[in-house]
Every structure is written in structure tokens, then in C-alpha cells.
């Protein structure tokens, strides 16, 4: 149902508990295909049910908007709060989590709200219609292969699509047993499995500490945590550290766990080679100089049967980039969305929260989601945002954003990391493009950017659309100069069967979910046409 704009309560007032539960949405997998093909409309569509999306959806719903929360997973929580399915009967899911109570609280609010949580929805595109409303296009099913694509209309859109892990290639990184650090964490959190018994954790960023302590707590031997950066850069900005004590506490909790399990942490070091024929048998760890160049003669071999590796996270922003949202370069060389003080993007009617604006963690994501949900309600209900109620949220958001930028700068890859690559190291995993071919495209054929490298070598043209090789190709294309951040420009956020595209005809019907045709959002200036890919 849609709240009318004449209701007197201020948008920042207490949540209304008397809203009846919306019924326009259907949970994927619970209805026959034919029923799921119907187009439905809401006040707000939220993409992503992690910390930011959950907070935004429940906040907007509590203020009276009809909300659909679309998520690819079957359970809320996103990656940070990923947890076992109920049939696995985990009595203590919090044992694999930091700050589980915050998620439990969001889940309670979701259950008590009128939000339609649509699971198994993989949004592949969002489009702004001529009347100013939005359409979200989604595939359905666990991996998007169910024969029931859907289109969902909304007056406003909140993108809370999170992030994926950044990888920097090295010899042997395609061997089975080499997994993403976040990947090992994800498989452990939801599937209760480990990739091996002796797992080296390597790369850069605070996630490594969390991953290593999880793996060790779950019974793995962790011979070493290998961190490419030092942690000294954090000390250059004492203000951000002092004003974010919870981050320090979190780091100490992980450090204590590592000490308890006798896991050594090696700073300014990297895994520069993986050994094994069909799976990981050992890794070589080398010291790095200030520019992340491996120091000759420092390589030490560590026996292990798995390696969990990652270099921080990359905001997942292609849905927004495809409709022309402005981005900002982040200190670590990735792109985040450029957002205003109330989380709105440069495209009116499209808000974003959480890692999409720059990676900063679950607590920041919750604050931004809540802020966005309130701002959207204020816009759609035609009321002034309750300044008093959002001021505190905004202050917390700004404080945590400042820390996020410090963290991003501290773990930015040094230019010397490409010294790990041999010419036959695959850079692009999907298309099996080795570093030598990329270097040839740059040195011999004149490629100066990742797009040209892609056209000449196919690097970034495969299934993952350059997510795994994007950073590496950008760095190699820059040839020693400062690399351009990977553009995150992908016309389709997930692979879409041609049959789904062929079936895209007919208008979007407004549905009983709203009281009549949706009103366009009051226009503001700024380009809204999709940018041609």
C-alpha cells in the first residue's frame, strides 16, 4: 500500500506499526512461473539485502512506503552477514560473525515490516522510464537460470549492491586451492566448509584478519597471514582512528584470535608464486619494498594445501554506471558512486548506500541505508526531511566515511606489484589471457587503456566481465603511469539469455501495489539519459 502524502506525522517520527503487510510481491520459487511473470510496482525498489539494503528498506517501509527488496540470495544479510541455511541447524551462527546483534535487529525489523523481500532475484538492469519512474529487470532462481524473468516498477530506486573482491594475479593463482579470501569466508559462513587444512591467507586489507581468524576458529591451520601493506599508514591520520574506536576494537578482537591460534602476520610481504600441478602444494612468500616490488632473494616457501587471497573490495556499481550516475575515484584506485549528503546519486530518483559509495564496512552501510530510506520517504511523501533526526546519522556516516578513506589509502596497491607477474601468468582467468599478451598489446600495439587491451586480447571479455582482471589490466595498460580505475561499465550486471531480451516488449503495468499510477519524482536538473556503452 502507499501512504498518502497528507498524513501529518513527520517523516522522522516514530515508525508506524499499523501498516498492513504489502502483498503485491511474490517470493520467487513459491509460485508457478506464470504467476511470477506479472509486472508489479512499488514506491521503492531496493537492490541488495545486505546491511545497507536491509536498513534502507525497513526505514522506508516504516515511514509508509511500499517497498520491494530484491536480492539474489535466499537469505537476507548480504556477504557480511552471510549465514547457514536453516536446514543446517546452526545454533550459534554468531560464532562466525562480528556484531551479529545488529543484523538480528535488522532482521526483526524486516519481519515486522511490510517489505516484500524477493529472494532469488538477480537484477541485470535498471532503467528510467519517460515518466520518471524506474524499472528493475531481474532474472530469478538460485543462479538466475529459472524460466521466469521479472520486471518491477518503482518511483524510486535504492542500490545497495555491495562489493566484490579485488584480485591481483600472480604465478599459479588459477590452481585449484587458490580461492578468494572473501570466497573462503563466504563458503565457510554459509556452507560450513573449508578449502583445505593448511590455508595461507594473503593480499591486503583488514578483511584478511577477519578471514584468518574465522578459518582458524573453524579448525584450519593458518601458517601465515601475508599483508602487502604496512599498517603504519593508519597512523598518519590519528583523528580518523580516535573517532572510530569500534574499528580498533574489531581489529583487536581479530588480532587476539590470531594470537590465540598462533597465526603469524607478515607485513610488507606477498605470495609471489603458488606451487603444485593440479592443486596447491606450497606458496612462495617474498618481502616487498615500499612500492610493492618483490625484494630479490627474500622468497620463503610455505607448505599449504590452500591459499585464500584478496586485495580489498571493489564497489559493485555497474547498474548505476549504466544509467549515467557520476562516480568518484577512491584512494585505493577503485571507483565509488558520487553521492550527496542524503545518499542520492547524480541521477535524480536513484539513491545508493553502503559499499557502492566506497567500501567502509557493515556499520557504515547500515547508517547510510537508514539515511537513504528516510530521504526517499521524505521525497516521495513530499515532506521536509526531519533534519534533527538525520543529523546524528549524517555525523556518524561522515565519521565512518573518513575512516573508510584512510583504510582505502592504506591498502592501495603499490605500482611495483606487476613485478610478481611472469609473461605466462594468466591475468584474465575467464579468457586465459597471459600477462605477456597484455604487455604486447601495450608495448607493441599501442593500447593505453583497459578497453583497448580488451579489444586486442579479450582480457575482460569473459563470463565475469572483467571483475577479476579489471585492476590488473588497468595497471598493465598504464605501463608505469597512474592507472585509470576500472570503469565498472557493464551493460548487463549478470549474463542474460537472449530469449529474455527477445521477450522484452509491452509496457509495464501499474499494479494494485499502489493507489493508481505512480507519480514521477519531482524533477531536478542533471542528465538522466543512459550513457551509451
Amino acid at each position: 500500500m502507499t501512504a498518502s502524502a497528507s498524513e501529518p506525522d513527520d517523516v522522522a517520527g516514530p515508525p508506524s506499526a499499523s501498516e498492513p503487510k504489502g502483498s503485491a510481491g511474490t517470493v520467487a520459487d513459491s509460485l508457478p512461473d506464470a504467476a511470477r511473470r506479472s509486472d508489479v510496482s512499488y514506491d521503492l525498489v531496493v537492490v541488495g539485502a545486505g546491511s545497507a539494503g536491509l536498513a534502507g528498506a525497513v526505514a522506508a517501509s516504516e515511514l509508509g512506503l511500499s517497498v520491494a527488496l530484491l536480492d539474489s540470495s535466499t537469505q537476507p544479510g548480504g556477504q557480511f552477514y552471510r549465514h547457514p541455511a536453516p536446514t543446517l541447524g546452526a545454533v550459534r551462527p554468531e560464532a562466525l560473525h562480528h556484531d551479529w546483534s545488529a543484523f538480528a535487529d535488522l532482521r526483526r525489523r524486516l519481519d515486522a515490516s511490510g517489505v516484500d523481500h524477493l529472494t532469488g532475484h538477480h537484477v541485470w538492469s535498471v532503467a528510467k522510464e519517460t515518466d520518471g519512474t524506474w524499472t528493475a529487470h531481474a532474472l530469478t532462481g538460485a543462479d538466475g537460470s529459472a524460466d521466469a524473468p521479472v520486471r518491477i516498477g518503482a518511483r524510486a530506486l535504492l542500490l545497495a549492491t555491495g562489493a566484490y573482491e579485488r584480485q591481483l594475479p600472480f604465478p599459479g593463482w588459477t590452481l585449484p586451492g587458490v580461492v578468494g579470501a572473501g570466497g573462503a569466508q563466504a563458503m565457510l559462513k554459509s556452507g560450513l566448509v573449508l578449502p583445505g587444512r593448511r590455508i595461507v591467507v594473503a593480499g591486503s586489507g583488514p578483511l584478511l584478519l577477519a578471514v584468518a581468524s574465522s578459518l582458524a576458529s573453524a579448525g584450519a591451520r593458518v601458517p601465515a597471514v601475508v599483508e602487502a601493506a604496512g599498517y603504519l599508514r593508519y597512523g598518519r591520520t590519528p583523528r580518523a582512528l580516535v573517532t572510530n574506536p569500534r574499528k580498533a576494537v574489531e581489529a583487536l578482537v581479530h588480532a587476539a584470535a590470531l594470537a590465540r591460534h598462533r597465526v603469524p602476520v607478515r607485513l610488507r610481504s606477498a605470495v609471489t608464486e603458488v606451487h603444485g600441478t593440479d592443486r596447491v602444494e606450497a606458496v612462495t612468500v617474498s618481502r616487498l619494498d615500499r612500492d610493492w616490488r618483490p625484494v630479490r632473494g627474500t622468497g620463503r616457501r610455505i607448505a599449504c594445501d590452500a591459499l585464500a587471497v584478496g586485495h580489498g573490495l571493489v564497489p559493485q556499481i555497474e547498474l548505476a554506471v549504466a544509467v549515467g550516475c557520476s562516480t568518484r575515484a577512491l584512494p585505493d584506485g577503485t571507483l565509488g558512486l558520487a553521492l550527496d549528503a542524503l545518499q542520492e546519486s547524480s541521477v535524480p530518483g536513484l539513491w545508493a548506500a553502503g559499499e557502492t559509495g566506497g567500501v567502509g564496512g557493515a556499520e557504515l552501510a547500515r547508517a547510510e541505508g537508514e539515511l537513504a530510506g528516510r530521504a526517499i520517504a521524505a521525497r516521495l511523501l513530499g515532506r521536509r526531511t526531519g533534519v534533527g533526526a538525520t543529523a546524528g546519522l549524517r555525523r556518524r556516516r561522515d565519521r565512518m566515511r573518513a575512516f573508510a578513506d584512510v583504510m582505502s589509502a592504506a591498502h592501495a596497491p603499490g605500482p611495483g606489484w606487476t613485478g610478481w607477474l611472469t609473461d605466462d601468468t594468466d591475468v584474465c582467468r575467464c579468457e586465459e589471457v597471459p600477462a605477456g599478451r597484455v604487455r604486447e598489446a601495450v608495448a607493441e600495439l599501442g593500447a593505453r587503456d583497459a578497453r583497448t587491451v580488451k579489444l586486442l586480447t579479450r582480457a575482460g571479455m569473459g563470463w565475469c566481465q572483467g571483475r577479476m582482471c579489471g585492476t590488473a589490466v588497468s595497471c598493465l595498460a598504464a605501463d608505469g603511469a597512474t592507472p585509470e580505475p576500472p570503469s565498472e561499465r557493464r551493460p548487463f550486471a549478470v549474463p542474460v539469455p537472449l530469449a529474455v531480451l527477445a521477450a522484452l516488449d509491452g509496457p509495464l503495468d501499474p499494479t494494485p501495489a499502489s493507489d493508481g499510477p505512480p507519480d514521477p519524482i519531482p524533477a531536478s536538473d542533471g542528465p538522466t539519459d543512459p550513457v551509451p556503452s
Binding site: S72, T74, Q79, P84, A85, P86, T87, L88, G89, A90, V91, R92, P93, A95, L96, A142, D143, S145, Y164, E165, T174, P176, G177, V178, V179, G180, G182, G183, A184, Q185, A186, M187, L188, S190, G191, L192, V193, L194, P195, S217, A218, G219, D278, R279, R429, C430, E431, E432, G462, W463, C464, R467, M468
Partner: protein, 104 residues
């Protein structure tokens, strides 16, 4: 008792069932993905690449890298890290693009 993921979260799962990988039985717990069941059995690779014929399995664990593509019940290119295991599922090592029968 050895520390295990199951012990850590105090899991009391529903009874396991069987899936197969290239014909050999693999136990799966209800609620695990195909990739989790395979990892649980020590299997880390279930496809070979198009060009080099190299083994690959789950890498990113969250459906973004497409390394974990498998042929499931005869259907190629299913992301094993996302698809829940069901009793009797037959996973077969996917050779290359998995569409050999199309003759492309």
C-alpha cells in the same frame, strides 16, 4: 575433539543426502550449495578451461567470477557456488564451454 566449522556454529543439520560427482557419490548437507558439498568432500575442481584444459572450481564464492561453472544434471554453466544441492544431483566435470553437443 577437533575444531570444525560445524562444531564452531553448533550445527545440528538435517540428515545428509547423496549427490554424485562424475559418477562417484558425494555426501551433501541440506542447505549446502553444490560447491560447498564438493569442498566438503575435498573436491576443488569441477570444470576444465576452454583453451588450456586447466582445472577450475570455486574461487570468489559469491557468484561473481564464474570459475565454478559446472554441468549439473546435464545442464552446463550452472554456478555451483549458488545452486543448492538436491538429493540425486549429478555433477559432471564441464569440459570447456560445456556445449560440445552443439558442435561449436
Amino acid at each position: 575433539m577437533a575444531r570444525t566449522p560445524i562444531g564452531l556454529v553448533g550445527a545440528q543439520p538435517d540428515p545428509p543426502f547423496e549427490i554424485t560427482f562424475d559418477g562417484r557419490p558425494v555426501p551433501a548437507l541440506p542447505g549446502q550449495t553444490l560447491a560447498a558439498a564438493l569442498w566438503g568432500a575435498g573436491i576443488l575442481a569441477w570444470r576444465t578451461t576452454r583453451d588450456g584444459g586447466r582445472p577450475r572450481g570455486a574461487f570468489c564464492g559469491i557468484g561473481q567470477c564464474y570459475d565454478c561453472l559446472a554441468t549439473v544434471n546435464g545442464e552446463p554453466n550452472r554456478r555451483a557456488c549458488l545452486v543448492p544441492a538436491r538429493p540425486g544431483d549429478a555433477i559432471t566435470t564441464q569440459e570447456g564451454h560445456g556445449h560440445d553437443r552443439l558442435g561449436v
